[in-house]
Structure formats: structure tokens, C-alpha cells
């Protein structure tokens, strides 16, 4: 396979990221980057009101100066292990663009690092073979001074979240479930597991 072939493949491993400024944040052991233009502001974690019947990664709603915006727990979203919120936990308020509308949402991350300038020659494509996580959620990978920054396509990450919700709310048994990129048969198993969790908890 040549490079050209790969870039023609939709969702293939071509670099969608563009050189420029990225806001980087940490989540578990990895460092991630967001296009700076998507970021509205960074705020400390404030009281979040839980919204019932939502998947676990929707932490709830916060009051951002009079606007109610949903906040997404990125650890839950990426199926990373839970941790307690710390002093450094914060909310990055992002403006996302779905097909129909612009949404303002908050994402909860472990800690915000810095604004990084990534040049064209420091960009690399995501792995060519991988799950949806690798291909659709990633714009590319930035390699700056031996650091690896995973550049997120936040529109896809959050927009997919929303689509998934819409299709599931009509479903009868939406509880607190983590159903992300699993196929349908896996989905059922997962549902049962989670429900047991609810009972135990």
C-alpha cells in the first residue's frame, strides 16, 4: 500500500490535523491536544448537577454564567479507569459543531498542560489499522521534543456522543450504561454487566 492509497480511504490513516496551536491536557498517562480555536475557556470544576437517565460519561450540567452546559467526563468517555477529582481537575469549555447546530460543552480532564505550537513536520498520522477510537477520534499525532500528543477531533468525539444518546433514549432500558464502540452483540452483554453493577451499588 502506498501513502496515496491510505489517504484516499475514508477514515484511513491520513493526517487530518493542521499545524498550529493546540491546547494540551492530560488524561490518565497520556497527553491530548485540542485545536485552540475550539476552546472557549478553561474553568475549575464546579458543582455539577447530575442528569438522570444519561450515560455515565455525561457527568451532568453546570451553570456557566447563566448558561446551562453539559459536561462530559473524558475518562468515562474513553473508558479509562475512574479517579477521584483533584485540585487540578478542570473543565475545558469547547465549542463543537455538529451537523445541525453549534453546541457548547464542557469536558472534564485530569489537568490542563499548556498551549503547544505544532509545526507541519511534527505531525504524524494515526495508526493505519485500529478501532474507531484511533481513526475517527484522532486528527493525528503530534511529536514535539520527544513528547507524543494525541490530537483529538473533538467534534467527532462529542457529536458521536450526542447521536448515540438520541438513538438510545427512545430505547426502553437506558440506565447508566457505557456503550461506546462495541458492536451490537457486545452491547447486550455490556448492558447486563452494568445493570448488575447498579444493583450491587
Amino acid at each position: 500500500m502506498t501513502d496515496v492509497d491510505l489517504s484516499n480511504k475514508p477514515g484511513g490513516s491520513h493526517i487530518r490535523a493542521q499545524a498550529g496551536k493546540y491546547l494540551t491536557f492530560r488524561l490518565a498517562e497520556e497527553e491530548y491536544g485540542l485545536e485552540i480555536l475550539k476552546v472557549q475557556e478553561i474553568i475549575g470544576l464546579m458543582a455539577v448537577t447530575r442528569v438522570p437517565k444519561m450515560p455515565k460519561y455525561v457527568r451532568g450540567i453546570i451553570n456557566l454564567r447563566g448558561k446551562l452546559i453539559p459536561v462530559i467526563d473524558m475518562r468515562e468517555k474513553f473508558l479509562l479507569p475512574d479517579v477521584e477529582d483533584t485540585e487540578k481537575t478542570c473543565v475545558i469549555v469547547v465549542q463543537t459543531q455538529t451537523k445541525e447546530e453549534k453546541l457548547i460543552m464542557g469536558i472534564i480532564v485530569d489537568t490542563v498542560s499548556e498551549v503547544l505550537n505544532i509545526g507541519q513536520n511534527e505531525l504524524e498520522p494515526p495508526p493505519s489499522i485500529g478501532s474507531k477510537l484511533d481513526t475517527e477520534y484522532m486528527l493525528g499525532i503530534g511529536k514535539v521534543h520527544n513528547r507524543v500528543v494525541i490530537l483529538l477531533d473533538i467534534d467527532n468525539v462529542l457529536c458521536e456522543t450526542e447521536l448515540h444518546l438520541v438513538s438510545n433514549i427512545g430505547d426502553k432500558n437506558v440506565g447508566d450504561k457505557n456503550v461506546n464502540d462495541r458492536k451490537n452483540n457486545e452491547l447486550l452483554e455490556e448492558t447486563n454487566k452494568n445493570e448488575k453493577k447498579v444493583v450491587n451499588g
Partner: protein, 866 residues
Amino acid sequence: MSINDNDFLLGLRESFIQEVHDLLLMISDILLDMEKGDPDKKHLEKIIRFFHNIKGSASAVDFPHLATFCHKVEDLLVAIRIGNLPMCPEIMDLLFKSTDELKNILNKLNSNHDFIPDFGNFEIQITDIIHKNQATLPQAKKDSETKIINEENISNKNLMVMADTEEEKVVAICENIAEELVFVDINNKKSLLMISEPLSDLAQELTEKNPKLSEHVRKLQEDLVSFIMTDKVEEHYYNWYKEITRIIDTFRSPVRTIKINENITDVISEMRPEEEDTAIVFEVDQKLLDDFLADASEQLELVDSNLIILENFPDNFEALDSVFRCYHTIKSSSAILQFHEIEKLSHKMENLLTLLRDGKIKFQGEVEQLTLECFNLLKKRVDEIKRGQVVSSKEIKKEFKKIMFRIDEHQSDGSVKKAQEIHNINENDGVGTKSEEEAGEVVKENNINTSSTPIDNMIKVSIERLDRLIDTIGELVIAESMVSQSPDLNSILADSTIFKHLGHLNKITRSLQEIGMSLRMVPLKQTFKKLIRIIRDVSKGLNKEVNYLTFGEETEVDKTVVDKINDPLVHMVRNSLDHGIECNTEERLRLGKATAGQLEIRACHKGGNIWIEIKDDGRGLDKDKIVKKAIEKKLIKPGQILSEKDIFALIFKPGFSTAEKVTGISGRGVGMDVVRRNIEELHGHIDIESEKGKGTTFKIRIPNTLAIIEGMVIIVDKERYIIPTQYIDRAIKINSSQISRPFNRGNEMVILDNENLPLFKLGGFYNVNNPMKSVDDGIVLILDDSGKRIALLVDQILKKQQFVIKQLNSMVNRVPGISGGTIMSDGKVGLILDAAPLIQGFVSEMDNNNNNKHNSNIKNEITVHK
């Protein structure tokens, strides 16, 4: 350039659509007045003017179909004005329908500018009416004509009257043509020729009566045609204008001496009695005037800034377009208020600007001077109006005339000789010191501008900004209460000035909050106007004579409420007319009522709510009939005892109608159901008072705003929710002995004294961390959504309070039972529950439980609840 042109047209079209929309509203107002039997000719003239305006603008923005249609309507109206056509209900209907049709077309054009409307049907109808009536009238008309001719012989004075009307006709037609010439596509010979047609018609008409005038008119028409056939329409335009003036002058000369060189505008304005102008202007709605002034000042400011650009960059087309647009706006708005000078001057400026745009002349020297002078003059005049001088002063009038003449002169392709001549004439008039005067005026004007700032008392703001302001005020209120209720204050001495300051702060925040809320309020006026229109149409359709009265149309309501209240009100009015008012007048007379039915619509504020009352003096609700019908429809059981209120409430049930047969207006039993639904959506309430034979009154109570609800804060585990109080019937404590679980399934029931209700546990439904163990610990709310009742178990009830409703982001707005969010007094988010979807959600879960007994989820849930 072409893109620029497109944008320009688009902008014009948008403002055109808005403008026509406003005009149409005014037209239907006037039509209603006329129908009431107000014989005033002024009304008719106003409408003609409006339609004429629409026509002119429509062709300017290239909506030719619209223009032709307006032209037809104008024909009809003119026929009425000159007495060729008697005003009859048929015509009235046609006029109403025409305005409706225009409105429809506008809406369509708004979304799609390329939409081609089809007025064929209307145009045929109008032509039919004109012809039919003309056929019946000629005899009478001829009689009057001969009479006039006889009188003409008797005295000179009568001759003048006679000449006046005919000349006015000529002038009116010429004026019309002149205007159309500006708008029409110069390259389209066919449409140009069409313009000249009225002249030949007129010539025909005048052959017998006034051969001399007829001849002139004919010549004029021939000239027009001949110059149209040449390729230099623009060049001939001015000459032709002069020709009209000359003709008119010849006719005027025996009566009044008019200087030959004065231009047509003067002639026209002098021929109109000036008193009429002022009379109408004084009648003008103050609000309209304010709007106009605000708008005009804004536009002039724009012109000013763009003229500065043009001075430096004469080829800047964007600035030129902008100036053009401004003058166009000023023209149409001044036309509505009949500031003729402004209208005419703006029109002239438009002509001049067209030449500039087409590159025929350059923005320099005399043209530049003229443009600036014209702008200054307009500004002066607008300031004059602002000071309350509705009628322009003599000097200003003179200046207007002069400047218009000069512009015309320029348009005639700058024949230097003529310009010279005019200058001479001006000097002969003794206004040689004009330029000095002008300079003086400008200085004075600047003074005026700086000294009288509070002139612009209107401003348009986008809803989004407004919402942001209101949000911020909300935040301020919370922040303020956090400070003033801070426990840290306890350590401060009670006589500290800080408490005084805090009190002051509190007062300011409250008033700021009030102002914030009032910004969204609009009067009910428009809604009422629509209702009046419906009363008119429906009563016509039903052949019932109905008088209507409205009170309190100035009552202010939140914008969102106004949008939603319209439908239910329409349904109720239709119902009152159809079912309420008796069909035959004898029945009414027998009951001692006037033959004409009476319908009253009132609105007022009372205790944070708006009350709207629709009252008819018809036959009233027939309780027996309603009960009978309800039993027939199986809505109630025979023998059931119902209070008067219960019986009346039956008419809101879906499918209920006492009408014997379904008509176009009502009878399907849908209307009142819609009314109830809509009113409930607005968190409102509806009451009926009725007495058989005397009439019915519907009383609607709606909260002032949709943005605020009164709600009960409830607590489940550690979470807070808000339930609108309108759904809460009562709250009671129950114990486990009152719970029954039929068939031993998940669905529980509360056994109360007089009813058994399904029990829903909010904690379980929303999967809280620690759902309540026993019903004894909690409290039960009885929720009522129009008859559907449930018992809702919650942990605690906290307090009743007012909440500002906030929309939820589309990501989280589909949770069953949650209709919105709000910000609680501590700044945190609270979720608002809506009873209807909540009940719906519970019911579907209940079904779910029954249908999927094998589902492990359910079994587990039951164990959890145990």
C-alpha cells in the same frame, strides 16, 4: 461588480419584504376602518398610496409580478376614488383577500426570492369587477359630465375646478409614469411602452370633454413612445418631463400664474392643497413618527459616513450602494408619513445616484456639492420634524425646490447653458447669498445635533444579546444574594455602613431584574388586530352581523407568549361566532337583544398574570345539551353528578362538539381541545362563565412570561428537582399500609380516601444513589395533568419559588420528564420536571415492566426498591 450587484439587490429585497409587511398591516387596518363605514376619502387615498409604494418598490427590487398585481389593485382603487366604482362588500372582500394573498406571497418570497407568484385569478377578478361596474355606471357618469360642462359655461370658477380635476389626472398619470420610468428596465421596450398606455387612455377619455388637453396628452404620449423607441431613454427623460410641465402650465395659466421654468415637482405640490397635507400628518401615530425619526437619523448617519468615503474614493461602489439603500429607505418611510419633500428629494437623489452607479457622471465638483447639500437639507428637515415642526418652514421648502431643480438639471445630462440659466433665476429670486446661508445653517445644525442627543429613542437589538443581558442579570442577582447572605457578615457590627450599601445593592439588582424582564415585553395590539380581522371574515362567512369591542390591546406580554396565544384565541373567537351568536336575528330580538351580536375581547394584567376575556352575548352554553352529547360520546356515564364547572369543562374534551353538522368553521370538536392544550402549554388556565340565552365568557389566565414559572423544589436523595406548582394537586404523607401491589408486580398503587392512584417513585425512576427504603419516610405529591393523575413519591418538599426557565443543550434535553433547567438560589443548576412527559415516562415504564417480565433489569429494580 456583479457579485456586488447581487448583494445589493438582496439587501434591497430583504428590506422591501419587511417594509411591505408593515404596509400590509396598515392597509388591513385602514380597510377595517373603511368597512366600519368611515366614508372618509383620506382612507382610500392612503391605501392607494400604500399600494403605489409597494408597486414602485417591487419593480425596483425586480419582483415584476408583484408590481403588476399592485398595479391592478391600484386600478381598482382609483376607479373607486374617481367614482367609477361604488364601494361594495364584494370589492371589500376582494381587497382583503388581495392583502392576504400579498402576505402569502411575501412569505414565500422571503424564503425563496426566485419564487414566481401567480396572481392570475385575482387579476381576473379585479378586472371583472371593474368592467362589470363600469358597464352599469356609464349613464350616470355621462350625466354628471354634461352637468360639469354646463357649469363650465356658467362661471370661470367652475372651469377651474373642472380643469383642476382633469389636470390632476394628467399630472397624476405623468407622475406615475415618471416614477415607473426610473424603476423599469430601460432595455425592455415592451414594458416601457406599457407605461405610456394610461396616457393614450386618458387622451381618449378627454377627446370629447376637453379636446385641447386631449391633444396635448396625445402628443405627450407620442413623444414618450418616440423617445422610448430611441436608444437614449435617459437623455430624453428630462425633456419629456419638461414637456409635461409645459402642458400643465398652459392649462394653468388662465387660473394661476406659474413661472415657466419651475419644475414639475413644484407644480404638483402646489396643485395639492397644503392644508390637507398638514391635517394628515398631524393624525400620524406618534409611534410611527418616532420610528421614522429614529430610522431616518440612522440612515442619514450612514449616508454621512459613506459620503466621506466617497469624497476620498469617488469610485467606491460599496459606499455608493449604501447611500442608495439609505435614500431608498428614507424615501419609503417618509412616503408613509407623507413628508413629501423628503420623499421627493430622496427619490431625486436616487436618480442621481443611479447615474453615478452607471458611471454616467462622476462624483466630483457640482455633483459632489449637490449630494452634500441634499444630505444637509434632509438632515435639517428631519431635525425640524424632531422638534415637532411637522410642516416644513418656508425657507426649507424653498431650498427643497431649488435643490430638486438642480438635481433635475444635472440629470438632463448637464447641459451647461440650462444650469447657467437656473443660477440666474435663483439669483433673481434674491437668494444670491445662498451659499453663505447654507454654511451658516450647517454650523447651526451641528449645534443642534450636539445639544439634542436624546433623539434616537428607539433601538433594535437582537434577541441573542438581550438573552445574554438577562442571563447576566440573573447571575448578578445570585451573586448579590450570595454576598448579602454570606455568613461572614455575622462577624461585622450591625451598624456598619456595609449593610446600608448592601441594601442599596439589593435595590439596584431588583430594579435591574425588573428592567431585564420588561425588555422582552410587547403589546398585544397585533394579536388583537388579527382577531378583529377574523371576526370580520367569519361573521361575513356565517352571515351574522357582529359588533366587536376590544379593550387593553396595549397590555404587554412576553414575546414568546404572544406568539403562542394567537392560535387559541383564534379558535375561541371562531367558536363564539359560530356557536355563540344566534343564527337568526328574531331569536335575538325575542330575548331582548340587539340584532347585531356583540363580541368583546379584553386583556389586562392582574397579579403577575395576564387575563384575556372573550365575551359574546349569544345563546350561552346549554348544559343539558352538553351532558346529553357527552353521554352519547361516552365521555361521562349517565347519572353522573357534575358541577356546572365540570359540565363546561366537557367542551374542551377532544372530539366533543354540539354542532349538528361539521362546517368550515367548527364542529369537528378539535378547536376547543387545541385551545386547552395550547393554554396549558403556556402554563395557563381557562375558565368558562355562561348563562343560557345571555352569552358566554371565556376567561384565560396566562403567566406574564414563559421564562418564569412557579415551582416546588423537591428533594430525592441528594438531588433537587423542581415541579411546576400548576401540576401539583396536593401533597400528603402516606404509610405503607396504603400501598397495594396488585398481581404482585412492580406497579404499586396508593389507596386514598376517594381515589386509587398509581404510585411512582422518582428516586427509583431516576436511579438515584440511595433510593428511599420505605414510603413512610417520604411524602407523596398528587400530580394532575388534565385528568391524568398519579402519586409521586419524593423524599422531601423544600419550598415554593419562582424560577427562570433555561433551555437545555440538545445533548441532554431528551430525558423523560425533564422539560428544562434553572439556576437555583445557590447558583447551582436545578432540573425542572414536566408532569405530562413524566407521567408518560412512568406509564411507558409500567408497560415495559409488564411486557418484559423476563427482563433481568426489572427483577433487579424490584429488589432494589424492596
